[in-house]
Amino acid sequence: MKTLVLGVGNPILGDDGVGIHVIRELRKKIKDVDFDEVSVSGLELVELFRGYDKVIIVDAIKTKQGIPGEIRELTLDNIPTLHGITPHDVDFKTAFEYGKRFIDKMPDEVRIIGIEVDKINEFDEKLSAKVSESIPKAAKLIKEDLLNGS
């Protein structure tokens, strides 16, 4: 099975880069899986799925009652809509639908690991403490998935 794990975010925009930190942690430990660090969303994100059986996305999220550092698992069924905060794109659900219809090989399984974040409006390479603590937890969750094939 061909699997891609994507860390999504901006590594110089504080907590927004948390997904990328998780990928860097996993890369050291796991082989035979493709990892990538990207700062894209919508169409461009979905276009990266081409040719994979399974995709795991790790991304920063901010929900109304969210607690920084909290890990939330989302699927295509329960995700309300994942809006890239980029003005030049479409929402994730629309992009995924577009991918399913027009990209030859799209993954059967997409897992989205969201990490609640706090500081995202100031350029900084550092993460806030609570968010930083979530990195090994998220990495463990993904590692178990990859090793067990669950």
């Binding site: 999504v8 975010g9 901006n10 590594p11 110089i12 925009l13 907590d15 927004d16 990207v38 700062s39 894209v40 969303s41 919508g42 169409l43 461009e44 276009e47 081409r50 991304d59 920063a60 999220i61 901010k62 929900t63 109304k64 989302l74 995700i79 309300p80 809509t81 994942l82 809006h83 890239g84 905060i85 980029t86 003005p87 030049h88 794109d89 479409v90 929402d91 629309t94 992009a95 639908e97 577009y98 219809r101 027009f102 990209i103 969201g114 974040v117 995202i120 409006n121 100031e122 350029f123 900084d124």
Partner: protein, 497 residues
């Protein structure tokens, strides 16, 4: 939504964030006592601390840092930054390096403009501005133009990414620019690969022009929408031109024309501060650049106003033509239909964008055929630090300036970046207000009208910095109604809160 808003008879309408422009942006529309538009503003959330973040770093790192400002325009930031750094080190890129940088930028244009035309503007022009929101998206567009078109869009975007990746190291966050050129050139095999992809892209450019012709230009309603008065402003325009005054993306002088199309000024990018000043409004984090020698006279258009606009239509307005044959044909046709230059119809921005898709494809094909494109002479090694540098390019959404100051060791002490959307800030406010004035009368506001206001905004393809993702639900359109004491008395959203 319309009924509720109308019944409340209150004076402020807030659209936040803007659908399909999912930035930290919102539009505020203030109504007068009669329920007609008094003022309309669009606002963005500021991302803080970029200059501080950059200070103390070796200035040559900037071309790799600045693409991170924005997930939408990484390539133009890489290029403008590369040019600024060349100047800081008092060294010019080699001819081959310049060609490869330009080709990478053209590939980025393809990638960006394709998304805008098919996924963002397309829903309004191909599916229709009044269509069911569930259909008004890229799927709806492709349902109209056919599944094969969808596959072509995917392929053309993939090739555009691939070309950037070959030349600039990474597709989304390019890394190849160094002071004096680029880290590595391309091989003969890579040249062949790009040549093949450029053939496809030229065909795709033709296909897109035909699609625009068939679906938009042959539909009277859409042509009226473009040429109508809704989004028309007689402003100055700014863009970059080559020595023959053709549209140029990577290198050239900046030309400004007045609302009559007469050249107002032509200057080198390095002199931008002599010609551009910035106005500050208390309600907006983003400043409002204007023509310094004209002065700021408020949010008004006309020959005496310093407001200028950038982006595809502005670029075409300031130029005498396109440097490639098929794009130039399309250019001539557009101005024939629109009744001459400059075109002030904001929605013609979408037409100009399609012409630039054609130009980008032809330009890639032209550059890849140059004999020196595989030359190994890709870098002039710098020998000294001059201390200050300005680099400018045309980003898909307009003129972009990077300005750095460095100490004797080449450590950055100060940075100023004037982005394309910043340049268009005042113009966007003009468009939003004008659309709102035409479409909101006597407190009557419905979803269709709001979409029309947003169309004005979207035409500029504005771009704000990347941040995190939010999970609000469906389209994150929110209308807040305030009473005269500025208290929110009603909140109406398209999504569950």
């Amino acid at each position: 939504m319309s009924e509720k808003t109308a019944k409340n008879n209150k004076r402020e309408i807030l659209i936040s964030p803007v659908t399909r422009l999912e930035g930290h942006a919102k539009i505020d529309i203030f109504l007068n006592e009669e329920g007609n538009v008094q003022d309309a503003y669009f606002q963005v959330v500021e991302l803080r601390g970029f200059e501080k973040f950059c200070q103390g770093r070796p200035v040559e790192e900037m071309p790799r840092i600045t693409p991170r400002i924005c997930g939408v325009c990484p390539n133009p930031h890489h290029m403008a930054s590369g040019k600024a750094v060349d100047m800081v080190f008092s060294v010019e890129a080699t001819e081959t390096a310049k060609k490869l940088r330009e080709m990478s930028l053209c590939a980025h244009y393809m990638h960006s403009h394709i998304a805008h035309f098919y996924a963002l503007a397309g829903p309004d022009f191909v599916v229709g501005p009044d269509a069911d929101p569930a259909q008004r998206n890229i799927i709806g567009v492709i349902d109209r133009v056919g599944v094969e078109a969808g596959k072509k869009v995917i392929q053309a975007r993939a090739y555009s990414q691939k070309i950037q990746e070959i030349i600039s190291g990474r597709a989304t966050h390019p890394i190849n620019n160094l002071p004096g050129g680029i880290a590595r050139g391309i091989s003969a095999d890579q040249r062949k690969e790009i040549e093949n992809m450029s053939d496809y892209l030229v065909d795709f450019g033709k296909f897109t022009l035909e699609t625009f012709e068939d679906i938009v230009l042959k539909n009277k309603k859409y042509v009226e929408l473009i040429t109508g008065d809704y989004y028309r402003h007689e402003t100055h325009y700014m863009g970059t031109v080559d020595e023959k005054n053709n549209v140029a993306f990577y290198e050239g002088n900046i030309r400004v024309v007045d609302p009559k199309g007469r050249e107002y000024v032509k200057f080198k990018g390095v002199d931008y501060l002599k010609h551009i000043a910035e106005h500050v409004e208390p309600w907006s984090y983003l400043k409002f650049p204007y023509l310094k020698n004209k002065g700021w006279s408020g949010f008004v258009d006309g020959v005496d106003s310093g407001i200028y606009r950038v982006a595809p239509l502005a670029r075409l307005n300031v130029a005498d033509g396109m440097a490639t044959p098929l794009a130039n044909q399309a250019y001539e046709k557009m101005y024939d239909v629109l009744g001459g230059k400059p075109a002030h119809e904001t929605l013609a921005m979408n037409w100009a964008r399609v012409i630039e898709i054609m130009y980008s494809a032809e330009r890639i094909a032209e550059l890849i055929s140059k004999p020196d494109i595989t030359s190994r002479d890709v870098r002039n090694i710098p020998t000294r630090v001059a201390g200050e540098g300005v680099g400018h390019v045309e980003a898909p959404r307009g003129t972009l300036f990077h300005h750095y100051w460095a100490d004797d060791e080449g450590i950055l002490t100060k940075a100023n970046i004037l982005v394309a959307t910043g340049n268009n800030n005042a113009g966007i406010c003009l468009s939003v207000k004008k659309a709102a004035e035409k479409l909101i009368k006597n407190f009557k506001v419905d979803q269709g009208i709001l979409n029309m206001v947003e169309m004005a905004f979207r035409a500029y393809d504005p771009c704000f910095a990347c941040a995190t993702h939010t999970l609000p639900g469906n389209l994150p359109l929110q209308v807040k109604v305030f009473d005269s004491d500025k208290k929110v008395i009603k909140k109406i959203s398209r999504f569950e809160q």
